[in-house]
């Protein structure tokens, strides 16, 4: 879509959408939202970018190599933090008992592995939705 207004508006609102997505991911354990919603919001910004600037530029922002690494990394991070519980002698995916720092109730960096896991999920959801969109577009072209 070659439209100047769309391109300019997209460039203007893109940082705000991404900032909001990151906010929702990082405050997943404090306010409504979390990895899935935040990741989807962030992915929406990338989808908007691709719609405005075309598939080629969109893929430069999020190449296949990067997205496949992000997806693998998200799950491996999750599994790795799960194994922390086993190393401490508890069962898989143990949070508080396994000695994750709990922090101050209500702070962003609190609640043990929850923010980290939420972040991993957010990354994963973001890259999955964007890759789905790009793959389907590629097929259409």
């Amino acid at each position: 879509m070659d439209d100047l207004f769309v391109k300019v508006t997209t460039k203007m609102i893109l940082p705000f959408i991404q900032m909001y997505g990151l906010y929702v991911i990082l405050h997943g354990h404090l306010s409504p939202g979390g990895g899935f919603s935040g990741g989807a919001i962030y992915a929406a910004s990338m989808v908007l970018y691709t719609l405005a600037f075309g598939l080629k530029k969109g893929q430069q922002r999020m190449p296949h190599e990067v997205s496949s690494k992000v997806e693998t990394g998200g799950i491996l991070l999750y599994v790795l933090f799960g194994f922390a519980g086993i190393f401490q002698g508890y069962s898989f995916l143990t949070n508080k008992a396994a000695g994750f720092p709990m922090g101050e109730f209500g702070a962003v960096l609190s609640a043990g592995f929850i923010p980290i896991v939420t972040f991993a999920i957010g990354l994963k959801v973001m890259s999955t939705i964007v890759t789905l969109f790009h793959t389907m577009l590629e097929e259409e072209s």
Binding site: L55, K56, Y78, L93, K124, T128, S141
Partner: protein, 101 residues
């Protein structure tokens, strides 16, 4: 004809479902059977157990974190399945331009 038959069968299903509403536990009751000790446990103990203000986040990433691992796996499966079916080999798309949207 097939549509009519389906309509009749599904109408029957709907009737069965609606007629059983009276026998389901009523909605929104505080003493309802599903608002039991498990739900109370989550509401009361999650701050102590997990330190998260959002109880739903506490459930999906701590109490039932294994479900969420399964769920990310579903997403991963979805994307792998789509790429296995659609994924264009990377040499082919070099010549493409950006006429999309």
């Amino acid at each position: 004809m097939k549509k009519l038959l389906t309509l009749i069968v599904l109408g029957g299903l709907l009737l069965v479902l609606l007629s059983s509403i009276a026998e389901l536990p009523p909605m929104g009751e505080e003493k309802g059977p599903s608002y039991n000790e498990i739900a109370h446990y989550y509401v009361e103990e999650s701050a102590e157990d997990t330190g998260a203000k959002n109880i739903i986040a506490a459930i999906i990433t701590d109490y039932r974190a294994f479900d969420t691992l399964g769920e990310t796996t579903v997403l991963f499966t979805g994307i792998t399945a789509v790429i296995s079916l659609l994924g264009v080999s990377h040499q082919k798309k070099e010549g493409e331009d950006q006429h999309h949207g």
